[in-house]
């Protein structure tokens, strides 16, 4: 399994470096969009207004959103591309089962996604003057967000296997993701707060805002809830993927596009 992970790591990094203009373009576009929104918000608020930790909270929501979008297009969009190029069937001819191959692949490409996102985060912090905290404990809620993100990515990957064309769906879905990751549900009260606990990634994103934007300590109780939430979505995503694999093989549509 380690061998497969290292092979996947090599494959993804070679492709990234060989076609680095695509990645650089992605970073420039992503940061430009945020900067445009930032300038608009500054114009509405008027001169002299300080955003304070609210800007920081928005930065975290935005960068998390871009990370989740990368993960989603990596898995669901990747499946669609491989069906087109004919490599998808070769992946299913591996003695490792397909869910395992795709999971190892996702973890290997996470190193790329995180590198790109750290670049985006640093550029945004520089151009907006946002100052974030980076306590080591941020890794814990970050893992819960990743679990939810991979769960959704595998669920979307299931649709990619069954339908082959998911690009339009991904386009619409990204707005729902923006809601999940950037709305500060941690400030909600009452039934809205309870509802937010069931949404994917939202609790983890809220905890990250607490730690990195507001400088608060990690709330272990809330983290446990976020972890359970992440694990449920992750398991659900893998289950759906496994079902979709079986159904696609039954329909004989694995390589078809």
């Amino acid at each position: 399994m380690i061998e497969l992970f290292l092979a996947e790591l090599k494959r993804s990094w070679i492709q990234l470096i060989r076609y680095s203009t695509e990645a650089i373009g992605g970073i420039i576009i992503t940061t430009s969009i945020f900067y445009g929104l930032f300038l608009s918000a500054q114009y509405i608020a008027g001169p002299g207004l300080q955003f304070g930790d609210r800007l920081n909270a928005v930065v975290i929501g935005y960068v998390l959103w871009t990370l989740v979008l990368f993960i989603l297009s990596d898995i669901a969009g990747g499946l669609q591309n491989e069906a087109q190029t004919g490599t998808l069937e070769q992946l299913f001819l591996s003695p490792f089962n397909a869910s395992k191959v795709f999971l190892v692949r996702a973890i290997a490409s996470l190193t790329i996604q995180i590198t790109l996102n750290i670049s985006i985060l640093l550029i945004i912090m520089t151009i907006t003057g946002s100052q974030l905290f980076f306590p080591p404990s941020l890794l814990l809620p970050f893992i819960t967000v990743l679990l939810g993100a991979y769960g959704l990515a595998f669920a979307m990957g299931s649709l990619a296997l069954l339908l082959k064309r998911v690009q339009q769906l991904l386009g619409i879905f990204q707005f729902a993701l923006l809601f999940l990751l950037s709305v500060p549900t941690e400030t909600w009260v009452g039934s809205g707060r309870v509802f937010a606990l069931f949404l994917p990634m939202t609790s983890g994103a809220g905890l990250l805002r607490d730690l990195m934007a507001r400088g608060l300590e990690l709330n272990w109780g809330q983290w446990a809830i976020a972890l359970i939430n992440g694990m449920i979505y992750f398991s659900l995503g893998l289950f759906l993927f496994h079902q979709a694999e079986r159904e696609t093989k039954r329909r004989g549509r694995l390589g078809g596009y």
Partner: protein
């Protein structure tokens, strides 16, 4: 030793509300060192059968056994299987040949070190060593196809499935791929080959199975099939035209003339006609032999689409 056994495979698809019986009770067997040409018109069920064998399509009924394991139940069966499906689109175009071989080697269960070593050997053997560092997208279609076959062999499988391996290749590349297939079979691997180029199937295969509307209509050793469908007629080619006297004698004996060619229907008549022709110079005498193309067309026409 038997490498592949597929028994009573069936697959039905639902298409626009109708049931389409793509494969109906297909059974195939293949032993080490044997090449089976699996032929049929478009839509006859060849690719569905191959993909059921590879574990990529779930059969409604029947089972597959590759080197003692069912690929639908035990993924270790895939260690004994290599496949090139649908032309040359089985590779990562942004990677080099060496990188593709290493990646797919690990994916098939090799260590990275072994995959690297095997990859280098295969590139040397397939004449691709000088293209080791070029990305796949810059290679010619023939080279891409050779690489796809090399990738399918990286884990040294006993069974190789080749679906249309010469599709879209030029004459030279077709010859190269044909030679490679011959060499791979000579190493003792079992090869299941589908192709529309029947001369290639005739040249390479030990056995032929023809499928039509999901059913196998014939399965025979290639030489036996050709013998069965070949006639008993002979053709004699003369160096010079015959004079009138000899023409009438040949015709009396049952021969038919057309220019410098004499057609003889039965072998009994052959020697009497040769006596008449003695001592005229002959160019050649040959028995009419059916080609796989003739046989294929005859069988497909006799078993029309349902």
């Amino acid at each position: 030793m038997r490498v592949l056994e597929a028994q009573h495979l069936r697959k039905t698809y639902r298409y626009q509300g109708k049931l389409l019986e793509a494969v109906q009770d297909v059974s195939l067997k293949l032993s080490i060192g044997e090449v089976l040409a699996f032929l049929g018109p478009n839509g006859a069920g060849k690719t569905t059968t191959i993909k059921m064998i590879a574990g990529l399509i779930l059969p409604d009924q029947g089972w597959v056994n590759i080197a003692g394991r069912n690929p639908h139940r035990d993924s270790r069966a895939l260690r004994s299987l290599g496949a090139v499906l649908e032309g040359n689109r089985n590779l990562y175009w942004r990677l080099t040949p060496q990188e593709n071989l290493e990646y797919f080697g690990v994916l098939r269960g090799l260590t990275r070190r072994t995959a690297h070593q095997r990859g280098r050997e295969l590139l040397e053997r397939f004449g691709l060593a000088d293209k080791r560092r070029s990305t796949v997208q810059t290679l010619s279609r023939g080279m891409q196809q050779k690489l796809a076959i090399a990738v399918a062999l990286i884990h040294n499988p006993q069974l190789l499935l080749l679906d249309e391996p010469t599709l879209g290749l030029d004459v030279e590349a077709t010859q190269t791929v044909k030679q490679l297939i011959r060499e791979i079979a000579a190493e003792g691997r079992a090869i299941l080959l589908t192709t529309h180029q029947l001369d290639i199937a005739e040249e390479l295969s030990d056995r032929v199975a023809i499928i039509q509307t999901g059913k196998i209509v014939i399965e025979e050793p290639t030489s036996e099939l050709i013998r069965q469908f070949s006639g008993t007629a002979y053709t004699i080619e003369l160096e010079h035209p015959l004079d009138a006297e000899k023409v009438s004698k040949v015709q009396e004996l049952g021969g038919t003339l057309q220019g410098q060619l004499i057609y003889v229907r039965e072998s009994d008549e052959l020697y009497s006609i040769l006596d008449v022709l003695r001592p005229l110079p002959l160019v050649k005498i040959y028995r009419e032999q059916a080609t796989l193309t003739d046989i294929f067309l005859k069988l497909v026409r006799e078993n029309p689409l349902d």
